[in-house]
Amino acid sequence: MSEYTVIGKPALRKDSHDKVTGSAQFCADITLTGMLHGAVLRSKVPHGIIKSIDVSAAKEAEGVRAVVTGEEVPYRLGRSIMDQTFLAIDKVRHEGEPIALVAADTLEQAYAAVRMIKVDIEPLPAVNDVLEAMKPESALVHDRLEDYWHVDTIRPVNGTNIYDHFTLRKGDVDKAFAEADVIVENEYDCAILHHAAIENHLAIAKVDGSGKITVWSPAQSPYYIRGELSRALKVPENKIRVIVPPIGGGFGGKLEARAEQLAIALAMKTHGRPVKVAFSREEDFLAGTVRAGVHFKMRTAARKDGKILAVESTNWWDSGAYSTISPTVTLKANVILAGPYEVDNVKMDGYCVATNKQLGTAQRGFGVAEASYAHEQQMDAVAKALGMDPYELRMKNVMVDGCKGHTGEKMFAVGIKECLKEAAEGLGWEGHPTSWITEDGKIRGRGLGTFMKFTGTPSYTSATIKLNFDGSAVVSYSTTELGQGVGIVIPQIVAEELGIPLELISTVQVDTDHTPLDKTTTSSRATYHLGNATIKAAEDARRQICQWVAFKWKTPVERIEFKKGGIIVQLDEQGKPTGKQARMDELAKNGLIKNGEPILGYGSYETTNIWHKPDPETYQTERLTAMWFFGANAAEVEIDPDTAKIRVVKVVAAHDIGKTLNPLGCLQQVEGGVIMGIGNTLLEEFIHRDGYLMNGNMVDFKIPTSMDSDVEIEMRLIESSPHPEGPYGAKGIGEPAMCATQSAVASAVAHALGVPVVHVPIKGEHILAACRKRLEEANDR
């Protein structure tokens, strides 16, 4: 018997009904009275000097209400470095960068006017490659990085293309390498790829007579965007309101402001008329955001018994024309680049680098999927060098409770061992070869991928619960629903805590003027952070309910007990139940809170106090994060040796969830994460030539279709390491399945073919020769 009534049971999301009938109103579906339509003139070249812009014809064109160029809106954006203006001024730094804007009565008129703008750009050589960008003779994307404001936690290097140089130092790496029995050294790279949510970026903005700016946008993190816009525009945050309609997919891509600032720039000139700016798919590829490309140099030292002694890496992140939050991606990847293994000596140098390409930013995992791929390829290489089973090698080294993490902190609630064991077991690892040929001549392989990740800290969020007289409740918060299921797991918590039926609990549209403060919807953090805040809000509501019941029953409040399941009990002076009780699910009938003051429970959760600022050189600290979480995927692949096409046959995803709150929601996140991870690993990449994007469309940027997704997926949720501070012990599940898929699939391919996978996505041309060789070897036997 579960100790919970709602928690841990599958619950259906509340927004599905509107989504299956077409009545859910996404941002694109909103038309406001008097709304104008914006269109964007974008740079056709990746790098160049703007010689002149002539908007005179556009201004006179039919239906045009406003035209804006860069100099009119010289506001700077940038969470890490304020290096980005709303529109290009003087210089363009990537293909697709916005240069000028038009608002007109119809979209057709806006497009027509944009075509009338004459812009003269003198092309400059494009900084096209991350390693080239590091050379002293490289052209500079930003001439003077030092002129920009930046946060004090990063270190831009003046006169270079380096946005940030992150360092982590633990132990004595040189000594460890000198003493090692085996040293494995490899380089790996991952292509740039796009989030490719089915909904493109868009926003509607309106500026009223008092100067208040209202923005409707599918912003993952509306308070983050509000803060960004406030700093850019130098207006107080209370003058900006962000309203979030249902979001058509985010995956990190909707963290940064992309269309918002453009809509605002126009709305500042339209005298109160709202303006909608909606990106086309091509614009979304060129001027949305991307997962940065990365090149890793990795060195791993091991003892012959399999103990990993040291891991060292230098890596370069192709973060594009503006830095956005990409230094954080570099950081997060480097902190865990030695993997979820106990390693005494770690040395990491991560460079976040500017190029004339699309803007690198967060994507589901914040660099951890790429890092996991690199550290897991290293583990396989070490296993091979030592003649050890890859599973055994990993099991020998996995972190355990009480061990010292890569940042020097004492680790707790470490679930990796159980995850790895379950993943391997699910695939039937023991005694099974990792490479074999099927009867019909296909090459099969099995592999493992582990990961660890920390959630962004310090952080904060809050929730309110309003109780209605009819016994229903409304819970408000500003963590957004991107399809991940926060809109059901939070009501589940309210139902559990207050004993109100789940169907009587509703949620509120996120709106920074109405819903309470929240840092961001990223980092697998919603259940953990907002769950905790919601539990506190429920406690607060219970306290208020008890006050009212005490008043109605003329009983001292100390003798009112709120019991599990929402039963309110009167106690006698000895603390024994008197028999008088009321039920929360009968509030409508029992009238206990009727006609009283409104009951509004408030709860917040923040992690400032538990965070200890890491040393900037070594990144060692007492505690880095509120929550570490772990996971392991095991994968089996089949490769057709004639085509070098890879089919993922099965993935077992074992994840350290701590406590499952909604198994159905977890299943959706895991299945979706695995397939997205497979897309990242086998299909998706940006292809550039001299800074120009070749494949910015849905045909040539290949996200998986239903025909690429026929994979047996087995989910195993590991509850053996509950988080002592998590709601009911829960951790996060948004990123995990994806974080460990790239590494597991690459591991399986590497095992199948007997060669390391050094480039992701793994394309036919990379492995065809290895396939033929593998086949010949098998035939020779």
């Binding site: 497009y111 075509r115 085509t643 239903s706 036919g764």
Partner: protein, 293 residues
Amino acid sequence: MIARFDYHVPASLDEACALKKEYGNTGIVVAGGSDVYAKMHLGDHLYDHVIDIKKIEDMQGIRWSETEGLSLGAAVTHHEIERHPVIKERYDVLVQGVRTIGSLQVRNRGTIGGNICTAAPSADGIGPLLVLDASCVIHGLGGERTVPLKDFFTGPKQTVLADDEVLVRVTVPTPAPSYGGAYFKYGRRNAMEIALLGISVYLEVADDGKTCSAMRIALGTSAPIPIRAQKTEAYYIGKDLSDRQVVEAASSIILEDASPRNSWRADGEFRRSLLKLLVPRTVRTAYGALTRE
């Protein structure tokens, strides 16, 4: 958002031909629109005139008889083809090809005539028709002519169609009672793909069930236009198709027929390696699919 254009719906072939001639490069002939409207969406003004020919009576319908063979109206959709019982039974290689075009939604709009006239080297409908020895019935202001499909393409996205000509129908002779056909498409995804290679094979064997008596191979995305691999075809005639080594030996000849180029989608070297592996494999598949009386 499609830029503004003038829309014409000719009711007859002559009317269509006259409009096509009149508007020349400023006009575009459209049937299903799955290629044309996607391109026009990009916002740039591409055409002043759209000539929508898909309602013209002569371009409609699928006709078939044992003696006359198959006649496909140019406006027949890919989905009509893939669902047609006779085509499924007698011209399966064509179904295999058109089934890989776009999606169900695209196949409900896209037409076989459009697939041919767009003349993309990657077109999945063209290769199977090439190996089935199809011909094009062309109408112009001066009258009608018939051109074998293999002679229809004159250069990258170029065809024999004159300024005043449109494709009306595609005719396909009745294949031998016993033949083997196969289409193999190589793309990175398993759907919604532009072929990086498309291989179509039609073969017949002698009474011994294994000696090749007819072989037609068409290659997509292997040259600037869809081509027949004539040297490879010649190699196979008289060979024992049940002998795997004999079938695979063609890999040394195939590159005499094909010249896949380097592009950002895939480099030529990789495509050449694939051709050498996949042409024999598709021949094997076709041999395995021999229909027997």
